[in-house]
Chain length 187, copies 2
């Protein structure tokens, strides 16, 4: 079969995030992506994670500790709108990869979702910090209330990015509410 | 940068078309895809090519002869609606890969384009002949008259394919009239 969304996302990030690189997980959720990023950057790398839900930060910390990857990671119980604020405070001006997984926390409170305004604000900050060759990935979900509108606004923003960037979309067609993988690469 | 449409198309096909396999180029055009297919299947493979324009068949034949790949290939100056007719006639019941590149012949008569009804008919036949693990790719163009409607109808058909198949879409977002790569894999 063709690559699934998770597999394709991780492949694109892995190809562009070097050992010793700097990565951001903008939506910790269950901690799958930050575990992947922390594993991938190696001992010399740094990964920063954001989530507004304490439960997501807790689950991510547990997962990282279990695999002894927590030493490479800094977690913020804060909104991803604060990416620049927190990274600049640590003299981190550029990043190699940043991952967004929109929607709600799986097995969590489904009424707490990402909000389009803050999502786009965070994406603008993240893209602005990308190193040449760096990548932003965003998985968009359309099955929950507000999801379709959020996906459309993220896609509209990506469509108008200038040609310093390449933005692409990948999705399964014959499954209802299949998530949409989007990516922005800095040339 | 992320893979371009041509690169991604060839990668997906190459991963699913074995040496000695059977492939079809449903829209010969300038012969780029059939050259790729003929090269990839090796000496034990067979490739069949279709185009309604004599000029496309001629260009493809020249390209194949130049690289001594013509011995692996049978070209038909006929519509891709006749895929089953011509392949069944040669006792070929199953194929591993089939490529469609819709729209008009580059540097040819732009008023002669693929037509949605015959395109969909050919795609249904091709998908029906796919071996398990086989792939159909179709690159859709939206910039010429009728292109947008054809793309929408192909996408609508792919969306309703049952779960024996996986159908996906890949495209660049921040370029106007960027072609849309679609693929159907048989599970």
């Amino acid at each position: 079969m063709l690559p699934g969304i998770l597999q394709q996302t991780h492949q694109w990030v892995a190809e562009r995030l070097p050992p010793g690189g700097i990565a951001v997980d903008a939506t910790l959720g269950n901690g799958h992506d930050i575990r992947f990023l922390a594993d991938h950057v190696g001992d010399a790398g740094r990964v920063f994670g954001f989530d507004i839900q304490e439960e997501a930060v807790r689950r991510s910390r547990l997962r990282l500790e279990k695999e002894s990857l927590d030493g490479r990671v800094t977690l913020f119980h804060d909104s991803h709108e604060k990416i620049k604020f927190h990274l600049y405070n640590r003299s981190i001006l550029h990043i190699d990869a940043v991952m967004f997984n929109l929607g709600y926390l799986p097995h969590g409170d489904k009424t707490i979702t990402t909000q389009t305004d803050t999502t786009l604000d965070a994406m603008r900050q993240a893209v602005d910090m990308l190193n040449p060759g760096g990548i932003l990935t965003a998985v968009l979900y359309t099955g929950h209330p507000g999801g379709r509108e959020e996906a459309e606004q993220v896609l509209a923003w990506m469509k108008q990015l200038d040609t310093d960037y390449q933005t692409v979309q990948y999705q399964v067609l014959n499954r209802e509410h299949a998530p949409i993988l989007t990516a922005v690469c800095k040339g």
